[in-house]
């Protein structure tokens, strides 16, 4: 038996080296061995690469749009607040009331998605051929982020392109030519990491299921991209407070580990005027294509920095639902299932309010 194994091993090794004559068997064996080595190499790289990126949610949703040939005229992008806070069907039923044609919206919200990622999503999404019908895009104005990584809710990478987006963000904020030498070297090192990760063939990321952050499967989005929780709240219900900005307390996420690469990624700077300029440019560019971009400020989405930037956004391209004096119904504790996400009732309430504001805004601006 041992002799047989040794003989087989020698035969395989010799075949790999190409020592056999014109035999189909040897050729096929060689091809098979190379394919096996390829698969093993891929698997090894997948295990040892430090970071998985790629947002399964966005990929799933775009696949649904493509496969089902859906042609929504309105896209709603944003973070988990949009994911959980907007009911597309309800939104459509309000805005289409009394109209002959029925227009369909689609919720592209994705947990943890930041505004830079949404910009990337819109630019790339709209390059796909199935977006001919799209006329409006809501973008959640995810406000300034404290660069403390402990602010983050999950250990997952929840970016559209992850490291790539960060690199793009670096380019956005400061052109390559303005980076100092150490910053450029850091840029190239991060870029090399991205390349190595990419060639490992990783097409999905390992999800760390956070207790309240169960990811929906493809079937959840068959009816327009909305997912609602029915009040499963492992955390304490949100407290109604006088100052809603107290919601930016991060104590409830204590104990969660954040991997080193996320420390890099989540160290975004605050949204600033340069970013607003780019958004205004994008608004103009898409306006030429007949697509209206609207920045949407959610409840709990306003702070001093965002407030100071609002006047710089082009008129007619902002819907602000953050003022508790104007929208007190959106600040009741009963409609939240944690400190920032709406539950089902909250989603309905918010969606109705959003639809009404949208109708007012569209009449005012006639788009």
């Amino acid at each position: 038996m041992q002799q047989k194994i040794t003989y087989r091993a020698k035969y395989i090794f010799a075949t790999l080296k190409g020592d056999h004559s014109n035999k189909m068997k040897g050729f096929l064996l060689r091809c098979t061995m190379i394919v096996l080595i390829f698969l093993i190499a891929r698997a090894v790289l997948e295990c040892i690469t430090p970071y998985h990126h790629g947002n399964l949610e966005i990929q799933t949703k775009t696949n649904i749009l493509t496969k089902n040939k859906l042609k929504p005229d309105l896209l709603i992008t944003g973070s988990s607040k949009i994911l959980r806070g907007v009911k597309s069907e309800l939104f459509d039923s309000i805005r289409n009331a009394g109209k002959r044609d029925y227009f369909q919206s689609f919720n592209m919200g994705s947990a943890g998605a930041l505004i830079g990622e949404n910009k990337y999503l819109i630019r790339n999404y709209l390059n796909e051929s199935f977006t001919d019908s799209c006329k409006t895009i809501f973008v959640e104005w995810v406000n300034s982020y404290d660069p403390n990584p402990a602010q983050q809710y999950t250990e997952r990478a929840t970016y559209w392109m992850g490291l790539s987006e960060y690199l793009e963000y670096m380019e956005m904020e400061a052109r390559m030519s303005f980076l100092s030498i150490p910053e450029r070297m850091k840029f190239m090192w991060l870029y090399t990491q991205m390349f190595l990760i990419n060639i490992s063939g990783v097409s999905r990321f390992k999800e760390q299921l956070v207790k309240w952050n169960d990811r929906p499967t493809e079937s959840w989005f068959d009816k327009g991209g909305y997912m609602a929780y029915q009040g499963h709240a492992p955390y304490l219900p949100a407290e109604k407070v006088e100052n809603p900005l107290a919601y930016f307390d991060t104590s409830f996420i204590n104990g969660q580990k954040v991997r080193a690469i996320e420390l890099h990624e989540k160290k975004f700077e605050f949204v600033n005027k340069a970013d607003i300029r780019q958004w205004n440019e994008m608004i103009n560019t898409f306006h030429e294509k007949g697509i209206h971009i609207i920045l949407l400020i959610m409840p709990l989405g306003l702070d001093d920095r965002v407030a100071s930037l609002i006047p710089h956004i082009q008129e007619g391209h902002l819907i602000d639902l953050s003022d508790p004096r104007l929208f007190p119904d959106l600040y009741d504790k009963e409609i939240y299932f944690d400190k920032i996400h709406f539950n089902d009732e909250g989603a309905r309430r918010f969606t109705r309010q959003l639809a009404q504001e949208w109708l007012k805004s569209s009449k005012r601006c006639k788009y």
Binding site: M24, F38, S164, M194
Partner: protein, 472 residues
């Protein structure tokens, strides 16, 4: 189905397996199986055009046998004309009908007449430009008594519809490919291994290099007014590399696939961008097409000793015709004319001895740039757009954009281009770009290389474009 598609990855192993197992002992059955496989392959695009190919091939099969059967010169000529009319008429209708109608209407309108003629909504059958010339090569060679006519219908249909080279070449000659269908084929491991290498190279060229260049070039050509002059020139270069990598990549896959089935196809590209003059470049670019025009068209005009001016003129006609073959728009005509002019000037400017004397590596760059600039005309469908593109090189961009060549995608594509040209440079005295690997002593090094290239191909395969030359 595309070579780089999942369907082909399923289709070909099945064909390969059945071809070398069940059908290997009977050549007639093997040819019949190849014909059926080729029909499936072609019909996958559009089954309607399969009928067209079968009809035209059937007519040529009958015509060639009739030509052989008769000794009457008049009758032979008539039969040849029938074949020419059938093939060129079909090609002319599908490819050039709307072009001629539009131009005819334009000319007539100049005289104030508004003709009631409309263009038709004609879909160009995939590969018609290729298999038409291949069919004509057969009937013309039979007429000239260079080859006997084919008696077996499966052999002939196999020659016409052979799927590796059916839709985008190389345009084979009857004298080269047809005998291979008549001979028993044996599996040769060395040739099959070379075939696999060529397929890998072809996929790398197409999926990684061509598509990568295409993504950047598309952005530049879509809005040239937003880019600087340097970026527009880069766009021209990238487009030329895209076309080369796309087409040469397809040819490599075709040759490699044919090798796995025991066939040898002719070489279609011989590292054209390493040419030191434009005539050399054209001798190395799409060799099957230019040699076809030389052997079947050029001989009509060139009857032997002639003046250099006349020779230059005759050669120029080939390039003009080549331009027209590529497409039915004035852009392609202009491209053909431009290259005709370049080649004519080259011929008139120097004798063969002077050409040898002048050849040096540094001339590759201006030769490449000249070719790339002419090829850029074909990127648009309207000639005016191409002229505007060139004009934009000398004007300021309307909006400021981040340097497109510094984006990660662009840097990656540039890196892959460097890898491709490094491989080709080291293999420039061999037959294909990956031939240099055969000189690597360590088999493990070769295996590592195959694995890395495969990973890169797999990574890049998410954003595929169809093969560029399918539109011809």
């Amino acid at each position: 189905m595309l070579f780089q598609s999942f369907e082909f990855a399923i289709f070909f192993p099945i064909v390969f397996g059945l071809y070398w197992t069940i059908f290997k002992n009977n050549i007639v059955h093997q040819n019949a199986f190849l014909v059926i496989s080729s029909f499936i392959f072609y019909g996958w695009w559009d089954w309607r055009f399969l009928g067209l190919m079968i009809v035209t091939a059937g007519i040529d099969f009958w015509v060639a046998n009739q030509i052989t059967a008769t000794e009457s010169k008049q009758k032979r000529k008539s039969l040849l004309i029938l074949s020419l009319i059938t093939n060129l008429g079909t090609l002319g209708f599908f490819k050039y009908f709307n072009f001629f109608i539009e131009n005819f209407i334009g000319i007539v309108r100049l005289f104030g007449i508004a003709p009631r003629i409309e263009t038709l909504n004609i879909i160009l059958p995939v590969g018609i430009s290729f298999y038409t010339l291949q069919a004509l090569s057969y009937t013309i060679d039979v007429y000239n008594r260079k080859i006997p006519s084919c008696k077996n219908v499966f052999t002939y249909f196999g020659y016409i519809s052979f799927f590796p080279q059916l839709v985008a070449g190389p345009i084979e000659r009857a004298g080269h490919l047809l005998p291979q269908f008549s001979k028993q084929r044996y599996f040769n491991r060395a040739i099959a291994t070379e075939g696999m290498r060529r397929i890998l190279l072809g996929l790398f060229m197409k999926v990684v290099v061509a598509d990568g260049c295409g993504r950047i070039a598309d952005q530049i050509y879509a809005h040239p007014e937003n880019f600087t002059g340097y970026e527009l020139i880069a766009g021209i270069i990238l487009f030329a590399i895209q076309v080369y990598a796309d087409f040469a990549g397809y040819s490599e896959i075709a040759i490699g696939t044919a090798s796995l089935l025991g066939f040898k196809l002719m070489r279609n590209f011989a590292f054209p961008f390493f040419s030191t003059d434009i005539a050399m470049l054209w001798r190395r670019w799409h060799i099957s097409l230019t040699s076809w025009f030389r052997d079947y068209f050029f001989v009509l005009f060139d009857k032997g000793k002639t003046t250099r001016v006349r020779f230059a003129f005759n050669v120029s006609l080939i390039y003009l015709l080549s331009g027209c073959w590529h497409g039915a728009t004035w852009n392609y005509v202009a491209w053909g004319l431009l290259n005709a002019m370049f080649v004519a000037i080259h011929i008139l400017n120097s004798s063969p001895q002077q050409q040898i004397k002048r050849a040096s590596n540094w001339r590759m760059i201006p030769t490449f740039l000249m070719f790339a600039c002419s090829l850029s005309i074909t990127r648009y469908t309207e000639l005016g757009d191409s002229i505007r593109y060139y004009a934009s090189i000398f004007s300021m961009p309307r909006t400021y954009q981040d340097p497109i060549l510094l984006q990660p995608d662009a840097l990656l594509s540039l890196f892959m281009i460097c890898i491709l040209f490094a491989l080709e440079w080291n293999s420039r005295f061999k037959h294909y770009g990956l031939a240099i690997i055969t000189e690597w002593k360590s088999p493990w090094l070769r295996i590592c290389f195959y694995v890395i290239i495969s990973m890169i191909i797999l990574h890049s395969s998410g954003h595929q474009k169809p093969f560029f030359y399918f539109k011809f």
